[in-house]
């Protein structure tokens, strides 16, 4: 329960940090962030992802790779 509360607080803090101090990017200015290597997804292929999962006892986070970048 304490861990859940800590995770929520950490997430809220992260959202606050992410939303502050950013400049507004208009649709016509998003050419660079639309590049494939700027995606929020992991660049690793399936084999590399699997090797990392096997080598590390901590589960890798999945949600980052699912988040859209807002530019597509």
């Amino acid at each position: 329960m304490v861990r859940m509360r800590f995770s929520k607080q950490l997430t809220s803090l992260a959202i606050l940090c992410a939303c502050s101090g950013c400049s507004h990017v208009a649709a016509y200015e998003r050419g660079v962030v639309a590049r494939p290597d700027m995606t929020a997804s992991d660049l690793s292929g399936r084999a590399a992802q699997h090797a990392t999962e096997v080598h590390e006892g901590a589960a890798r986070s999945g949600a980052v790779s699912e988040a859209g970048c807002g530019c597509n």
């Binding site: 962030v33 399936r46 080598h55 901590a58």
Partner: protein, 388 residues
């Protein structure tokens, strides 16, 4: 059989949408890729991993479907296998997944399903995500949920004779923020609740008397362990539930001639593992069609609370929980590698076809383990991607 049915269903859906989209005059995004990965390490494990994937979508209409299929061919004669007087084994795993997404405007949904099959392990998973763009698409939020059901058995024994179930619920929440015209930040939190017995039915744990256990050294050889251990041997036994928590941040920034990506994760779980990882890439443009750059990854974790170098037996009693899984013990990984991408498409669209090659070598230091204290592994991949 279920995998084939799922793939056929996905292909059927894709072909009907393709026909409909073409009839509407929409511009389709069609991509396909093929990857081959080869892994080898100093613990005598080798894996060959060919995979294929495809993507079909209509960006204007907001829909897409993706499919992926992979085969792992694993050959192992690791020290853990040798310590149980077993011979090298070879095993084949097949896995696939399919995904459909629909995002006509700022609100999107996606569903996905996956299956993985090997002689002693069968896994199904399904889940979905909801995404919402805010602030004129400068901010995207995502919420996801997935459920997985695994059946763990023994090779050569039907699941109906021997198997146990393992279930997991995964919840995630994340956001992606455009910091400026050249910088993207993504942050996500994940919670995974697992229940069931994930103990390996082949993993035997040596036991030691209370007098001998303190004398066992990290890295003790198979022969030393055989000499020191008690006659009793027990199978691995893990707690029947586990709650995992992770927070990941990923930042991508484009400079005039390079893309820099950094990522970090902090992790905690109810078994006691605390972990931290940091990952960095720099992809430098070398000419109009070629990019090349280094990759560095660092990972460190503490052990589960029931981790012991030498488990103690007192006559009839044995530890309630015991494991020999090194990835549950204290360890440090350092990965160094490189990635190269070569656009080989026509002059009008050079990146329509591209080749991506990666090579990573990982040094692992096991801090409190029997048999081995370090491992060096190498993974190389070659991917051909095409789009139309």
């Amino acid at each position: 059989m279920q995998l084939r049915t799922a793939l056929l269903l996905a292909a059927s859906l894709a072909s009907s949408w393709l026909a409909e989209a073409r009839a509407d005059g929409g511009r389709l995004d069609v991509r396909a890729s093929s990857e081959v990965g080869a892994y080898s390490d100093t613990d005598h494990v080798a894996v060959l991993t060919p995979s294929i994937s495809g993507h079909l979508g209509d960006p204007a209409a907001g829909w897409s479907v993706d499919g992926w299929y992979l085969v792992d061919v694993i050959s192992a004669a690791s020290v853990d296998i040798v310590s149980t007087a077993s011979r090298r084994w070879t095993e084949v795993r097949q896995a696939g997944d399919a995904r459909a997404a629909f995002k006509p405007h700022d609100l999107g949904v996606s569903v996905e399903g996956s299956v993985s099959s090997e002689p002693d392990y069968l896994a199904f998973a399904a889940g979905g995500y909801v995404t919402k763009d805010l602030d004129d698409r400068n901010l995207s939020l995502v919420l996801g949920y997935g459920y997985g059901h695994d059946t763990i058995g023994r090779t050569g024994t039907p699941f109906s004779i021997y198997s146990h179930a393992f279930d997991h619920h995964a919840m995630s929440a994340g956001l992606t923020r455009l910091i400026d015209r050249r910088t993207v930040l993504a942050i996500a939190a994940d919670v995974t609740l697992e229940s069931g017995d994930s103990s390996k039915p082949y993993r035997y744990i040596p036991l030691f008397s209370p007098e001998v256990a303190p004398t066992v050294q990290a890295g003790a050889t198979v022969q030393e362990v055989s000499r020191l251990r008690s006659p009793e041997t027990v199978l691995e036994r893990l707690p029947l539930s586990r709650d995992r928590f992770g927070v990941t941040a990923r930042l991508a920034r484009r400079t005039p001639r390079a893309t820099i990506r950094i990522e970090s994760t902090i992790y905690d779980d109810s078994w006691g593992i605390k972990a931290f990882s940091a990952d960095g890439r720099d992809l430098v443009d070398v000419g109009a069609r070629f990019s090349l750059g280094p990759h560095v990854r660092y990972y460190v974790q503490s052990p589960v609370t029931f981790w012991k170098l030498a488990y103690v037996t007192n006559g009839d009693s044995v530890p309630a929980f015991r494991t020999g899984d090194r990835e549950l013990g204290p360890l440090i990984n350092l990965t160094i590698g490189a990635r190269a991408k070569w656009d080989v498409g026509p002059a009008s669209s050079p990146d329509a076809w591209n080749l991506v090659a990666t090579f990573d070598t990982t040094y692992t230091r096991f801090l409190d383990d029997l048999y081995i204290t370090e491992r060096v592994s190498a993974l190389g991949t070659l991917t051909l991607e095409a789009s139309w």
